[in-house]
Symmetry: C2
Subunit: 189 residues, 2 copies
């Protein structure tokens, strides 16, 4: 039987306590996701293990609803801001909500038929992610971007499609401001 | 088709923008929920429409996940703090998460077999409400209690059982501190 619990979520550090799971993705883990892969290789060679983001979860198999935080480092690969891999949910009827706690960024979304939307991530904004929209978080600021996510436990993550073909848009630094550009490497399947 | 959207959630006022629905419960609406009904009647007679809490929602029928805020006034009926009606979900496999934004309170929970739990509500705490636990929020502080809730859209609210029989415990002011007491009016069905 599941019992109620108060779970501490630190909006600055993103720490979740108690948590059930956590993982970190480093630059080396994200080979293939950034446009400038030579630059990424160079950064990995010279800087070693660079954490791009960490995910801390509070998930109980018997609960329909899970939550947790994502903590994104500031940084860029060339002119492309640090970002998450991006994913659809396996269950196409499952959406998600991202509540930004600190930092600033953009949430890049793509529907199954190729429509793109961008939602600003900043403290106090709940980004509503409808079912069946792929979503990728991008840290466009100089500080950590920390957000809390809320999602059906059975949603499932499908990373393969975005990994293989990319997203139609990417977010780059143009003179110090984020700019949503066409992705030259996007491969229509 | 549903589109992504950034929804502003003000952690101080509880305002949600854009919102899809909102309602307010006044003291008069909450007749029968507080232990001291004579006191409640007197307050309604002398103070008129006293808002106890307001709920503002962002719900889309085609989205599995809804969210919103509850804004609770500070106050008491006799020694019993202002509280929400309390409810189970119609769907017994649906839980909820309450993220406190400002203020302080207690979340009183009761399982189907009569187990009671209390979770502290304060900024930075995500209260995890497992499926099939009745839950009632109680503002034990001098300020507004504002929290953001996240819940399956199809969970449904079942208020009748708590309204008829009460909860086994109630939270009263004992010398300026919240105290969880047995409810003398609790009626086992």
């Amino acid at each position: 039987m599941l019992f109620p619990e108060g779970v501490s979520v630190d909006g600055r550090t993103g720490e979740v306590s108690p948590a059930t799971d956590r993982y970190t993705k480093t630059l080396a883990d994200l080979r293939g996701f950034f446009r400038d892969s030579a630059k990424l290789d160079e950064m990995v060679a010279t800087q070693g293990e660079v954490p791009v983001y960490e995910v801390i979860g509070y998930r109980k198999a018997e609960s329909d609803l899970s939550f947790g935080t994502t903590i994104m480092s500031p940084g860029k690969v060339g002119d492309e801001y640090f970002m998450t891999r991006g994913h659809f949910h396996v269950r196409r009827d499952r959406g998600e909500v991202y509540y930004t706690q600190s930092g600033e960024g953009l949430l890049l979304l793509e529907s199954r038929d190729g429509d793109t939307r961008v939602v600003e991530m900043k403290p106090g904004i709940c980004a509503f992610i409808p079912p069946d929209w792929a979503h990728r978080s991008i840290n466009t600021g100089p500080e950590k971007l920390v957000f809390t996510w809320f999602c059906a436990t059975d949603a499932g993550h499908e990373y393969g499609e975005i990994q293989e073909r990319g997203m139609r848009k990417l977010v780059v630094d143009r003179g110090g401001e984020p700019f949503v550009a066409a992705n030259p490497n996007f491969a229509e399947r």
